[in-house]
């Protein structure tokens, strides 16, 4: 029989069709025959029509598929017959499958799905390892290094570099500041990307510094109405004319953010090509065919040592990382931990169901025995049982998909900023995954009971019907399942507890500023190249903002606090020789006089900037505690002088007038670094511009944004205002991944605890039911109800303790893997494990006590008669 006929003859519908065909066929025959030999003659010649039909049906036989369909229908009937059991089973599975489906869709989007670059797995990023000179072990590289590497490396087919940039589009319409990136002309070929419209710029254009720009699809739609005539048009970027030559496709993005709107030629000036301290470039490279990441690492480390041999800080190595890891960032670890956790929850759910089904199978011993006696083979029984399980998990999976959708909306917010905005959907990959886990689940929770079930039948089903004491062996499997699920639950609870602890710690971190009612935004100052005019403008805009009703104070700073932007420099303390300087790096910030008062910084000693600090040859500086601790341990830094910049003989000596308590300038979850603050009015020797504005308000910060814009535009109507955010938003954004993963993991853990205790309860109460007879005998022989109570609770306790022990070991392993996940994750196991143990024992005690008490209340007389 061909596959097509198989399909045609499948299922109940075709069965009915076949029946009516047969009926029709036979009646046709009889009619024709009746025309010749009359009605009765025809009947006689035909023989027994009913028997014929029976024989024909026998000839059809049952196909395997039809058998399966029958089993499935039987399974559905079982589901309907036990609504309580089925509801619990389906709900458990739905949660398990739904969670896993949602988690998988996020993992798929962030870690599995191909990146929008050609052969993206061959792309790597290169960073400087400056740990030797006291800086970070993964620092941005320098254009000079890019230049050297590109000429001398042997492992990459090409290397491209990108630099941060801001672009203000002016001219037509409101001035708008957009995220931009300066990139080398070979970036496009290294990434293997094509523009959607127009062309990309060439290396020649990059070298010559031709003013051309590529724009994003978003900007193209937003500002240029999606017109193809934008190609060749001249736009004003940062007050200079640029020609738009291409539009990048919608799905294109590249480090460091998804929302870059403009790419322009990097056109490194000559000095940048020789300066090995200008760390601001992202370097991306494509591995040559056949070169492994390991080989590239070795080769590049060597090359870098050579290239930077003459660097006054000493030579340094490099870090080579896969591009995918950089894009996924910290989310990668979080997602993997969560996926594991959700898998553990599903496992627990399956184990529970296996237990429930096993208990139920024991109750259905007779039914099985009858089936076996009537000729069902063991294989048939197992299939039938599995079909029942399959029905359960299919229903669970469908319900799970419904649950998965809201979970996916939640997870979308976890996709890192470095990647494209992802709308998580139930596409075929995700659906396939759910189907696969549903089947895996069926096998996990269905197979053991199915085998056990059919075994009952083969052995003694009819004979024994549940009488007598059940052997120890029959509990072996159930007991190990309980221990297993308890262990998983313990591991999850411990990890969840530790994460909560960490997150709590994160939230309690002292930011060094008062974060409520603090509005921030940026006013790029590229149009005020002249120092005097810049100072005048900044002071004027602060003055206008302060005048707005509801505003308490306003200040300016070169980098908005907490926004992870390093602007490091070397410095020299008075009396130090120049040789030690390579070890000394500090962040620098240029601030307005009212900055510290506005953000609520706290003074440790000395004073903040005040009205007496004017433009002069002897400027002052405020340092932070780390700086003081590093350089002036145990003594006061006040009055000491320092100097920084190019380390030549020019430059002011700054006198330290104050020490401020740490302000987390680099980000909520980043350790503070030595920082020097200077007053913008005295900072004419630096390029740092106080373009970040902070505003302390009495009212809801969002409500004054339009007024603030008007105030600033009243001074300069072309002044762009960008990145309007509150400090609260910045903090929330930075804590969102930890807070979400913590919330999820905690939810998973509680769910696991609930399931494990249900499982424990189920097994014990089943044991009580099973052993009613035995209990009766024992009591008749003199056991007190206290003995019985102890015996049952003791068993429950043993199982719990075993689970607890194994689970704690699992938890230690898991937390070790998790230390990479969060800042400040220092697993302090003792309180977490203690808390988890207490909770688990309490829950387990409840779960044991109820059935144990029932056992101890059994009346021996009834028990002995109990069947």
């Amino acid at each position: 029989m061909g596959i097509w006929t198989r399909i045609k003859t499948f299922g109940p519908w075709s069965r009915a069709q076949k029946e009516s065909d047969l009926e029709h066929e036979i009646s046709n025959h009889l009619d024709l025959e009746a025309e010749e030999s009359g009605h009765y003659g025809a009947r006689r010649a035909f023989g027994n029509a009913t028997l014929v039909k029976e024989d024909v049906r026998a000839a059809w036989g049952w196909t395997r598929l039809e058998q399966l369909a029958r089993d499935v229908r039987y399974g559905l009937r079982q589901v309907r017959r036990n609504p309580g059991f089925s509801a619990v089973a389906i709900a458990t599975l739905a949660l398990g499958i739904g969670l896993n489906t949602a988690m998988f869709s996020a993992v798929d989007a962030v870690l599995i799905r191909p990146l929008p670059y050609a052969d993206a797995e061959r792309l790597v990023m290169i960073w400087d390892d400056l740990s030797k000179s006291g800086d970070v072990s993964k620092q941005f590289s320098t254009p000079a290094e890019w230049y050297e590497w590109r000429r001398h490396n042997t492992v990459f087919s090409d290397i491209a570099a990108t630099q941060p940039g801001e672009a203000t589009i002016s001219g037509e319409g409101e001035p708008e500041q957009v995220p931009a990136r300066k990139v080398t002309g070979n970036l496009w070929s290294v990434l293997g990307v094509q523009p959607m419209l127009g062309r990309v710029f060439t290396e020649e254009e990059d070298n010559k510094g031709t003013p051309v720009a590529m724009i994003s699809q978003g900007l193209w739609q937003r500002r240029f109405g999606g017109s193809t005539r934008v190609i060749g048009r001249t736009i004003t970027l940062n007050d200079s004319p640029y020609e738009v030559i291409g539009v990048m496709p919608r799905d294109f993005y590249f480090m460091p953010a998804r929302d870059i709107d403009i790419w322009m030629p990097a056109s490194f000036p000559p000095w940048m090509r020789t300066n090995f301290t200008w760390h601001d470039a992202h370097i991306v490279a494509r591995l040559k065919p056949g070169v492994t990441l390991e080989q590239a690492r070795e080769s590049m480390a060597e090359l870098s040592m050579q290239v930077t041999a003459k660097d006054f800080r000493g030579p340094h190595s490099v870090v080579v990382t896969p591009l995918r890891d950089e894009l996924a960032g910290k989310t990668q670890a979080a997602l993997i931990v969560l996926l594991c956790a959700s898998a553990a929850v599903l496992m627990i759910a399956c184990v529970n169901l296996a237990n429930l089904l096993m208990s139920r199978a024991a109750g259905r011993r007779r039914e099985t025995a009858v089936r076996a006696a009537l000729g069902a083979s063991r294989g048939r029984l197992v299939t039938q049982f599995l079909a029942e399980s399959l029905v359960l998990s299919a229903l669970g999976a469908v319900t799970g998909l419904v649950l998965a959708v809201p979970a996916m909306r939640f997870l979308e917010t976890m996709v890192p900023e470095t990647m494209a905005i992802v709308r998580l959907t139930l596409d075929w990959r995700v659906l396939l995954f759910s189907a696969a886990i549903a089947i895996a689940a069926t096998l996990t929770f269905g197979l053991a009971p199915a085998l056990g079930w059919s075994q009952f039948a083969m052995q003694k089903g009819l004979r024994d019907g549940g009488r007598g004491s059940a052997g120890v062996r029959s509990y072996w499997l159930q007991h190990s399942l309980i221990v297993g699920e308890t262990a998983l639950a313990v591991a999850l609870l411990t990890c969840g507890g530790l994460l909560l602890q960490t997150f709590h710690h994160l939230q309690q971190l002292d930011l060094g500023i008062r974060s409520e009612h603090l509005l921030t935004f940026e006013t790029p100052l590229f149009r005020y190249k002249d120092f005097e005019r810049r100072v005048a403008f900044v002071n004027a805009e602060l003055e206008r903002v302060r005048a707005i009703p509801g505003v308490i104070n306003a200040g300016a700073i070169s980098r908005i606090p907490l926004t992870v932007t390093d602007q490091a420099t070397f410095y020299l303390l008075e009396g130090q020789s120049r040789d030690g300087v390579s070890e000394q790096v500090a962040l620098t910030r240029v601030v307005s006089r009212d900055y510290f008062a506005t953000v609520g910084g706290r003074l440790r000693e000395g004073r903040f900037f005040d009205a007496s600090d004017r433009m002069s040859e002897s400027p002052v500086a405020v340092i932070n505690e780390s700086f003081a601790n590093r350089n002036f341990a145990g003594r006061s830094p006040l009055g000491h002088r320092l100097k920084f910049g190019r380390l030549n003989d020019k430059g002011y000596w700054y006198t330290i007038v104050g020490v401020v308590k740490e302000i987390r300038d680099r980000g909520v979850a980043e350790d503070a670094k030595p920082t020097i603050y200077r007053l913008h009015e005295q900072a004419d020797q630096t390029n740092d511009q106080p373009s970040g504005i902070v505003v302390r308000t009495m009212v809801e910060p969002a409500s004054i944004v339009p007024t603030v814009r008007q105030a600033i535009w009243s001074i300069d109507k072309n002044q762009p205002i960008a990145r309007v955010r509150t400090i609260k938003e910045i903090v929330d954004r930075q804590l969102s991944t930890p807070s979400q993963s913590t919330a999820l993991l905690a939810a998973f853990a509680l769910f696991a605890l609930l399931l494990a205790s249900i499982g424990l309860y189920g097994v014990l109460s089943y044991a009580v039911t099973q052993r009613t007879n035995e209990i009766g005998v024992r009591m008749a022989l003199g056991a007190t109800s206290r003995d019985i109570l102890l015996s049952f609770s003791g068993r429950g306790l043993m199982l719990t303790l075993a689970g607890l022990a194994i689970g704690s070991v699992l938890a230690v392993i898991a937390t070790r893997l998790m230390t990479t996940l969060f800042y400040g994750f220092q697993p302090d196991h003792v309180p977490a494990v203690a808390a988890v143990s207490l909770v688990l024992l309490a829950v387990a005690a409840m779960a044991c006590f109820v059935p144990a008490r029932r056992a101890s209340r059994i009346d021996p007389l009834t028990a002995l008669r109990h069947e």
Partner: protein, 98 residues
Amino acid sequence: MLILRTLQVGPAHGHQIAKHIQRSTDDVLQIEHGSLYPALHRLEQKGWLASKWESGDGGREFKYYRLTAPGKKQLVVEESKWKQLVRAIAKVAARAES
């Protein structure tokens, strides 16, 4: 084999096959027509026959059976088997007569 043989001529429905067998064996094989159907369905399951509903005389729909390629092969096999059997029986019968 008789059914396969009958259908070698061309497609036919159940009644036609029954009549044909009856006629061509000079009414020697008085099988009940009904027993034809289980056989037809068995042969169809094995893939030796294919069937199709078509309108026959008088506009009525009949289920026409047709020999398939594997069916034709099977017929050859069956026939050679049958001939062997006939020869064998004939030999035994001839020996008994002599």
